[in-house]
């Protein structure tokens, strides 16, 4: 009962409350309260994530598994950032309440927390994603093969979009008169046709399909048919 019935009941009730809140103004406040609780729990979930990170890395350090030194760096960085942020160490005092330590601005560039955001987190995060450009180039060279009509269509479209997105497209097709019968062959027109007509149609159909799947899954969850979120012996009824 504690591990199956109550969770299923909680899920169903919360789902039904949200659906009712959408349709009836009398139940709107219930829905607002449920979503407010949801958002607070989302904040607590971040604490769970941090706690789990700490547990996993401390286990690795205590067991002296290979790479434990990197785990130590992770823990040290985590604790430092937590100290600067939670305790507001080095925060810029509030102008309005200079005597209230926790009213200070910890995100200012002058504070250690803000400094670490701009000079550690921001460059690391940006560079990690920037690396993908190199791997896209490598993958394009090794894997993108025009073996059949479909792949030719895909690559051809990619070429058109890549060229028309830059001045190269304008240079290559700029000589075509815009008002002529073949004016649609100009790079910017081709790109507009591809993105606003063909690509939109394809993505619209994909979006409708996904939405139908979301609706079906939501109904199954709320009605208690799908219980895959339960830890043991879950699955569909």
């Amino acid at each position: 009962m504690l591990q199956r019935t109550i969770p299923i009941a909680i899920l169903s009730i919360s789902g039904i409350v949200l659906v009712l809140a959408y349709f009836s103004p009398f139940t709107q406040s219930w829905g607002e309260q449920a979503v407010d609780w949801f958002n607070i729990i989302a904040g607590i979930a971040y604490i769970l994530g941090g706690g789990n990170l700490l547990r996993v890395n401390l286990e690795k350090i205590s067991a002296q598994r290979p790479g434990w030194a990197y785990a130590a760096i992770t823990v040290a960085a985590f604790v430092a950032m937590l100290g600067f942020g939670l305790l507001k160490l080095g925060a810029v005092p509030s102008e309005k309440y200079p005597d209230v330590h926790f009213a200070g601005d910890y995100e200012s560039n002058s504070a250690p927390y803000g400094w670490m955001y701009w000079n550690v987190i921001s460059p690391l995060g940006a560079t990690m994603f920037a690396m993908l450009a190199f791997y896209v180039a490598s993958a394009a060279f090794r894997a993108f093969r025009a073996k059949n009509l479909e792949s030719v269509l895909l690559l051809g479209t990619a070429f058109i979009v890549l060229l028309s997105a830059t001045a190269a497209g304008a240079y290559l097709t700029g000589w075509i008169p815009a008002d002529s019968a073949v004016g649609f062959m100009r790079a910017e027109r081709l790109r507009t046709m591809i993105t606003e007509v063909v690509q939109t149609a394809g993505m619209r159909a994909i979006g409708i399909g996904i939405a139908i799947g979301v609706v079906a899954l939501s109904v199954r969850l709320i009605l208690g048919i799908d219980r895959s979120y339960l830890s043991k012996d879950g699955g569909a009824a």
Binding site: Q28, G31, E32, V35, D36, F38, N39, A42, G43, A45, Y46, A103, E107, G114, Y117, W118, I121, S122, P123, G125, A126, M128, F129, A130, A133, F134, V136, A137, S138, A140, F141, R142, A143, F144, R145, A146, L155, A158, F159, L162, L163, A165, T166, A167, A168, A170, E188, R191, T192, T195, E196, Q199, T200, M203, R204, G207
Partner: protein, 291 residues
């Protein structure tokens, strides 16, 4: 019998490809290669959508991205903030991403207060900051903003901030802008804020190249304007700068156009790589057939 060059090329160490990609960006960047941008319909539609909003309206700008997408989205964020401020709009800033707050702060300092020093906090602009909950935040904002944000980013209750005191829900805005890198972002704004009240406010978004395809179906019925990646940002910068020239530091709304220079060379490199890869495959097949 030695292998043809094309076949050997197919086995090239990928680090040479990495080097080629790096040089294709660094060289035009150092040579300061620039190209004129001709605004296309989508960028124009975004500009016109913001222009149609009456001057001095209260607008919401959501910085739904993090430093990883700053390269693409910061140029459009800068241009949008300058455009809105030039129209005298009262701006409310927020973010759905934990890392988005400082980006909004920096935009306020570098663009809003630098270009429009008359803007005062609490009267002309305000910051709601970040709240966890992803689409739950947008859902609750669509019916009850004070419940979602009991205080502004500085810890002041909303009732004590003149710009926010009478703000009940998202229909209190005439324009909502989501500068979006993924989830949560523009899609959630369409689904949870714009969906229930489609005529209440104008909604436009700026998006990364990766997310652009996902948002295209919403344009123009549910989203009146959309800026696609750095190309859209560059076109939009051109239009905004033409009508509202920045009073100082014009380079701060020029990053999109700056980054389009290296784009050309890198795109041509991508095409060359794909063609070479296919030629190498064909050469390998031909060679195998001849044996």
């Amino acid at each position: 019998m030695s292998e043809p060059l094309l076949v050997r090329l197919g086995r090239i160490d990928r680090r040479w490809i990495f080097l080629a990609m790096a040089l294709s960006i660094i060289v035009p960047m150092l040579l300061k290669v620039r190209f004129p941008e001709i605004p296309q319909p989508m960028a124009r539609a975004t500009f016109e959508a913001i222009e149609r909003v009456p001057e001095g309206s209260r607008v919401l700008i959501a910085f739904d991205y993090d430093p990883a997408s700053q390269g693409e989205l910061q140029p459009m964020a800068n241009a949008i903030v300058h455009h809105c401020a030039s129209r005298g709009h009262k701006m409310v800033f927020m973010t759905l991403w934990p890392f988005g707050g400082p980006l909004a702060e920096r935009t306020i300092d570098d663009i809003l207060l630098a270009y429009h020093p008359g803007y005062k906090y609490g009267i002309d602009y305000a910051e709601l900051g970040f709240q966890p909950g992803n689409e739950g935040v947008v859902k609750l904002m669509s019916t009850n903003i004070p419940k979602q944000f009991p205080t502004d980013k500085r810890g002041t209750p909303l009732a004590q901030v003149p710009l926010l005191a009478d703000l009940a829900d998202t229909t209190g805005f005439k324009l909502v802008v989501s500068i979006s890198a993924g989830y949560p972002g523009a899609k959630e704004w369409v689904q949870y804020a714009n969906g229930p009240a489609p005529e209440a406010f104008t909604f436009v978004s700026g998006t990364t190249g990766v997310q652009a395809a996902q948002l295209l179906p919403y344009y123009p019925a549910q989203m009146e304007g959309m800026l696609l990646a750095v190309k859209g940002a560059a076109e939009y910068e051109t239009i905004v700068e033409e009508k509202y020239p920045p009073p100082q530091h014009p380079e701060r709304i020029g990053d999109g156009r700056v980054r389009m220079g290296p784009q050309l060379v890198a795109h041509v490199l991508m095409i060359v790589l794909i063609v070479l890869g296919n030629l190498s495959m064909a050469a390998g097949r031909t060679r195998g057939g001849m044996r």
